[in-house]
C-alpha cells in the first residue's frame, strides 16, 4: 500500500509538472499569437494610413455606378403674371460603361458591342472614336466615364433610338441590340430666361440645393426638392436588380414682381447710369441706383432693382463693369470677392444710408400723431438754427422766412423741422422711431436684409444736436425697404404692411401649397394724420422741391431727399425721391435712391426725381391707373413716343384724334 501510495503521489506530482509544462508552452504560443496580432494591427494601421483617401474615392466612384442619385428638379420662380424668372432645365450626361462593354465582348469573343456602341456615339455626338476605343482598352474596370456632358433632351433624343427597342409596327428603327454599356444621367441646371432682370431679387443657384442671395436663398428649402435614389445590387450572384426611390421636385414660387414694371424700372436706372457715365469722375452714373415700386396698401413689391446689375446665368462675369486689368488687379489685392459681393447683394435691402429729407414726413407725422403739433404752427427760418454750439444750416443756406408746416415740408426746410423736433422731444421721437420700424428689419422675404438696430439713435446716443439733425434724416441709417414700407403706411391710412415678394407657393403639379396674404403688422398713425401727410407731400410736388417728378397725366405726392454722406463736407450725397401715386388715394409707392451721382454738385434731388418721373410715366398707365390731370402738348408727345395710351375718357378721344392725325399723313403719302 505504501509503495502504491507513494507511487501515486509521485505520479501526481509528475502529472502536475507535465500539465504545468503544457501551460508554459501554451504561454509561449500565446506570445507568438500576440506578436501575430501586433503584426496584423500594424497592417490595419498601414492600410488606413496609406490608402485612406484613395480608397474613399474608389468607394465613391463605385457608388456612383451602383447607387445613382436621381436629381430633383428645383422649383421655378414666376412673376405675378406667370412669366418665368427662374427655371430648371434638364441636361444629360452620356456615360460609358467600359467594364460592361468588355465583359459582353469577352463573352461573345468578338468586338461587336464595342464597335456598334462607339459608332453610334460617333454618329450622334461626333465623339472621337479612337480616343474612346483607347479608353476602353486602358480602363477595363471603368464603369463610369462621361463621354458627353450637359446635352439637352433634344440632343439626347437623337441617340435614344439606338438603345430603345422599337415597337413591332415601327420600321426603319435605328435600334441596334449591340449598342450596350451606354446610359445617360439626368440632372438640372438653373436657367434665368430674363438674364439680368430682377437679378438682386431672384438671386442664383449654382448647384443642387445651394443658393445665394434673394429669393433663391430665402426660399431654398421650398425650391429644393428631395433627391431620389436608385440602388442596384446583385440579389443572387447573377441577376442585377434595381430599386428606385423617385425624386420629389421642388415647389414653385409665384412672386408679386411684375416683369413689365421691373423692366421699366431697370431701363431707367440703367439709362441714368449710362447717361452720367464718366460725367464728372470715372465710372458709372452713380455708385449705385436703387428703386422700389410697391403697392401702398398691401406691401407687395412690384419691382425692386438696382444698377449695376449682372446676368444671373453668368454671375461670375463682371466684364461689363471692370476691365480685365482691373479684375487682375483686384485678384492680386484679394478684393475680387468684395467686388462680387457688392454686385450680387441687393442694394434695396442690404445697403444702409442716411435718408435725408425723406425723413421729414415721418417727423411731421410724429408731431401730429403725438399731439405735439396740430399742423397750424408757423415757423421762422433764418437760414440756420443755433443748436447747442452748432449752427445747423437750412438746405441752400438761404432764409425762407415764415413757413407753415405744409410749406416747411414742401420747401424741405431744415430749420422748421428742427424746431418741430424740439417740440416733439427726444422721448417721443425715439418712441416713434421704433413705431415706424426704423432700426428693425422689415422681414421682407428676401435673403440679406441688413440689421440696422445699431445704426439708429437710442436714449444714450441722442442729444439735442442729434435730435435736431435726425428730424431731417441725418445721423442715423436706414435701408430703402424700411423707408418704402414706412412711407407706404404713412400715406395708406397708417397701416404698416410687411413688404413681401412671394404671393403663392405652388406644388410641382401646379396646385397651390400656400397663399401668402399681405401681412398687416400694425397701425402706425391714424388716418387723419395720414391724410395730412398726403396733403403735405402732394404740395412737395405741386409747389415744392419735387416738382420735377410729376408724370404726365397724373398728380402725385412725394418727398425729396438729399443726405450728406460720412465723412461730411467732401461734397458727397445720397439723393432720393419717395413718392406715392395717385396723389389723393395712393396705390403705388415708388422710391428712388441715387447713391453719389456722378456730377459735380451732388446735392440736388433732381436726379432722383427725374428718374422717378420717367418710371411713373410708364408704369402708372401700365398699371391701369386712370389719368386725372390734363396732358400738355409736350407731355402728349412724350407719351406717344413711349407708345403709351392715355387713360382718361376725356383725353382718350383726343388721343384717338391725335392718333388719326399722326397716321393720316403717312396714309396719304
Amino acid at each position: 500500500m505504501d509503495r502504491d501510495e507513494d507511487k501515486i503521489k509521485k505520479a501526481q506530482a509528475a502529472r502536475r509538472a507535465n500539465a504545468r509544462d503544457i501551460a508554459t508552452r501554451l504561454g509561449v504560443f500565446f506570445i507568438v499569437v500576440l506578436l501575430a496580432f501586433v503584426g496584423l494591427s500594424f497592417r490595419l494601421f498601414a492600410i488606413t494610413r496609406d490608402n485612406k483617401n484613395e480608397y474613399r474615392q474608389k468607394i465613391l466612384s463605385q457608388k456612383s455606378y451602383d447607387s445613382k442619385t436621381i436629381n430633383a428638379k428645383r422649383g421655378d420662380i414666376l412673376d405675378a403674371n406667370g412669366n418665368v424668372l427662374a427655371a430648371s432645365q434638364e441636361r444629360y450626361n452620356i456615360i460609358l460603361d467600359a467594364r460592361q462593354i468588355r465583359t459582353l465582348d469577352d463573352e461573345s469573343g468578338d468586338r461587336k458591342v464595342r464597335t456598334a456602341t462607339l459608332s453610334a456615339l460617333r454618329s450622334v455626338f461626333n465623339v472621337d472614336y479612337d480616343a474612346l476605343n483607347k479608353y476602353i482598352d486602358d480602363n477595363p474596370g471603368s464603369a463610369y466615364y462621361e463621354v458627353v456632358k450637359g446635352i439637352t433632351y433634344e440632343d439626347l433624343s437623337r441617340f435614344l433610338p439606338y438603345i430603345t427597342e422599337p415597337s413591332a409596327t415601327e420600321k426603319d428603327s435605328l435600334y441596334d441590340p449591340n449598342v450596350k454599356g451606354v446610359w445617360y444621367q439626368k440632372y438640372y441646371v438653373r436657367y434665368y430666361p430674363q438674364k439680368t432682370l430682377a437679378c438682386d431679387v431672384i438671386g442664383f443657384s449654382k448647384s443642387e440645393g445651394q443658393a445665394s442671395y434673394g429669393l433663391e436663398e430665402q426660399y431654398n428649402d421650398i425650391l429644393t426638392g428631395t433627391s431620389g435614389r436608385e440602388y442596384g445590387f446583385f440579389n443572387d450572384e447573377t441577376t442585377y436588380e434595381v430599386t428606385t426611390i423617385p425624386a420629389v421636385d421642388g415647389n414653385t414660387l409665384v412672386t408679386t414682381i411684375d416683369t413689365n414694371v421691373q423692366m421699366i424700372v431697370e431701363k431707367h436706372l440703367k439709362n441714368f447710369c449710362e447717361e452720367y457715365k464718366d460725367n464728372y469722375r470715372k465710372g458709372l452714373g452713380a455708385n449705385n441706383v436703387g428703386c422700389i415700386v410697391m403697392r401702398a396698401d398691401s406691401g407687395e413689391i412690384l419691382a425692386m432693382a438696382s444698377y449695376p446689375n449682372f446676368d444671373l446665368n453668368d454671375n461670375m462675369n463682371i466684364s461689363h463693369l471692370y476691365t480685365d486689368e482691373e479684375i487682375a488687379a483686384m485678384k492680386e489685392e484679394g478684393t475680387l470677392k468684395d467686388a462680387y459681393d457688392k454686385l450680387w447683394k441687393n442694394f434695396c435691402i442690404t445697403d444702409t444710408y442716411e435718408p435725408g429729407s425723406v425723413m421729414k414726413p415721418f417727423t411731421v407725422a410724429m408731431g401730429l400723431e403725438s399731439g405735439k403739433l396740430n399742423g397750424s404752427e408757423v415757423y421762422y427760418c433764418g437760414g440756420f438754427l443755433q443748436v447747442a454750439d452748432h449752427k445747423i444750416y437750412c438746405h441752400g443756406r438761404k432764409p425762407e422766412g415764415n413757413l407753415t408746416v405744409k410749406e416747411a415740408v414742401a420747401k424741405s426746410c431744415n430749420v422748421a423741422l428742427m424746431q418741430m423736433a424740439d417740440t416733439i422731444g427726444k422721448e417721443t421721437f425715439l418712441e416713434y422711431q421704433s413705431i415706424f420700424n426704423f432700426g428693425l428689419k422689415t422681414n421682407i422675404d428676401l435673403a440679406g436684409e441688413s440689421r440696422t438696430d445699431g445704426l439708429v439713435f437710442n436714449d444714450k446716443t441722442m442729444n439735442v444736436t442729434e435730435l435736431a439733425t435726425a428730424s431731417f434724416g441725418q445721423g442715423f441709417n436706414v435701408t430703402m425697404i424700411q423707408m418704402a414700407a414706412g412711407y407706404a403706411a404713412l400715406v395708406n391710412g397708417g397701416y404698416y404692411y410687411e413688404p413681401h415678394v412671394v404671393s403663392k407657393i405652388l406644388s410641382p403639379s401646379g396646385s397651390v401649397v400656400k397663399n401668402i396674404e399681405p401681412r398687416l403688422v400694425k397701425q402706425i398713425v391714424s388716418s387723419s394724420t395720414s391724410e395730412k401727410i398726403i396733403e403735405y407731400c402732394n404740395s412737395v410736388v405741386t409747389d415744392g422741391t419735387g416738382w420735377r417728378a410729376k408724370p404726365a397725366g397724373y398728380s402725385i405726392g412725394g418727398k425729396t431727399g438729399t443726405a450728406e454722406t460720412v465723412p461730411r463736407d467732401n461734397g458727397e450725397y445720397v439723393v432720393s425721391f419717395m413718392c406715392h401715386a395717385p396723389a389723393d388715394h395712393p396705390e403705388i409707392i415708388c422710391y428712388v435712391v441715387v447713391d453719389r451721382p456722378n456730377v459735380r454738385e451732388q446735392d440736388d434731388a433732381k436726379y432722383s426725381s427725374i428718374i422717378s418721373r420717367q418710371i411713373l410715366t410708364e408704369i402708372l398707365p401700365y398699371l391701369n391707373i386712370p389719368m386725372t390731370e390734363e396732358v400738355s402738348d409736350k407731355e402728349r408727345e412724350e407719351l406717344l413716343a413711349l407708345e403709351l395710351s392715355i387713360y382718361t375718357n376725356r383725353v382718350e378721344q383726343e388721343d384717338a384724334e391725335a392718333d388719326a392725325s399722326a397716321n393720316n399723313p403717312e396714309g396719304e403719302q
Binding site: K7, I8, K10, A11, Q12, A13, A14, R15, R16, A17, N18, A19, R20, D21, I22, A23, T24, R25, L26, G27, F29, F30, V33, L34, A36, F37, L40, S41, R43, L44, F45, I47, T48, D50, N51, K52, E54, Y55, R56, K58, I59, L60, Q62, K63, D66, S67, R99, P140, G141, Y231, G232, F233, F234, N235, E237, E241, T243
Partner: protein, 424 residues
Amino acid sequence: MADKKRVKTRRYFDYLLLFIVLFLLGFGLVMIYSTSFYAASTQYDGDGLYFFRKQAIAVVLGLAVMFVVSFIPVDVYRRLTVIIYIVSFVSVLLVLSSLAHSSHGATRWIYIFGFSIQPAEIAKIGAIITTATIIFGLKKKERLSAKGFFMILLPGAVLAGLVLFLTKNLSSAIIIGGIVYAMYTLCEKKNLTPYIILLAGIILAAVAVLLIVKFPDKFSFGYRAERILAWINPEAYADGKGFQPIQSLYGIGSGGIWGKGLGKSVQKLYFLPEAHNDMIFSIICEELGLFGGLAIIIMFILLLWRIRDISAHITDVYENLLLTGIFAQIAIQVLLNIAVVTNTVPNTGISLPFISYGGSSVIILLAEMGIVMRISRDCDFREEIRRPTPTPEPEREEEEELTPAERARAARAARARRAKEKTR
C-alpha cells in the same frame, strides 16, 4: 494533506472570461444587424432582421449550451471520445446524404429537424477532444516516437481530409489541421518533429506560390491558384478573385481612424458580398475605424490570455490539452480571418469567432467556452503550482512506468480526496 490548505475553498469561476464572451457576442449581434440589414431586406422581401434574428436565436441556444456544458466534468468527454469522434465523422459524411444542403456551389450544410448545421464546426470540437484523449493516453516516449506522431495526428487529419474533400471547405480543414498540429506541438517539450514539419510546409508553400506566380499557365491549380495570384496583386484581379480582397481593403482603408459611424458602411450595400459573414471585420473597420478593429483584436487577446491563464493553474494534463486545442482554434480563426480581410494571406473563407454570422459556429464555440469555464472551476491557486519545487525530474521517470489505468486510478483518488476536503 491537511497542511496543504486551499487558497480558495470556494470554486473559482472566471467572470472576466464570461464578460469577454458576452461582449463579443453582443458586439457581433450589433454588427450583424448593421451589415446584413440591407442584404436581408433585399433578399427576404424587406425582412431586414432575417439574419439578425437567426443569429440571435443561435446565440441564445449557444448560451444555454454553454451553461449546461460548464457543469459537465471533462472526464466525460474522455470516456465518450470514441462516440464523439464517430459523431463528427458521420456528420461530415452526411453531406453525401439526402440531408445535405447546397449553397454557393458547395455542400457544407446538413438539415436535421429543421436546423441547418455545418458539420465542419462539429468536426473541429471532435478533433480537439479526440486528439486530447489520444495524447493523454500516450506515454512520454510514445508521444515523441514516430508511432505517437501518427497516432496523434491521424484522427484529426482524417477529419480534415473529409471536410476538405466532401465539403470543399479548405478553411475548416486548415483550422482542424492547425488545431491538431498545435496540440501535438505543445503537448511535449524537446520535440523537433513539428518544427521540421512547419519549416517543410513553409518551404513547400513558398515554392508553390512561386510556381503559380512565375508560370501561371502551366500549372492548373484551379481557383485556388487564381486566389493566390489575386492575393499578390488584387488590383489586377479586381473583377474576379481579387474582388473580395480589394473591396475588403477599400472598406478598411476608407474607415480611417474613427470610422464612418455605425451603420454607415457603403461597402456592405453590395460591394462586399455576405458582409455579415467572413468579411465582417472589414465592415467593422469601415464603420468603427481602426479604433473599432483594434478594440476587437484586444478583446480576442484578452480572451486568449484568460484561456492561457486558466491553463497555468490547472494540474490536470487532459484539461490542459483541451484548453490548448480551444486556444489554438480561436487563435487560428481570428488570426486567419483578420489576415484574410487585410489581404495578408490569400483569400479563404474563415469566420470571425463569436462575431461572424453562423449558427453552428457560435453554438460550438460557446460549448467550447462552457468547457473552458468548467475547467476554470478546477483552478488551483496554490503557490507551488505556479512556482514548482525543483524536484520533479527524477519522479518524471517514474511516471512513465504508470499505465493509463493506474493514472486514471490516481486521478480518481485525487478527486475523491478533493471532494472529501470540500465537504469538510
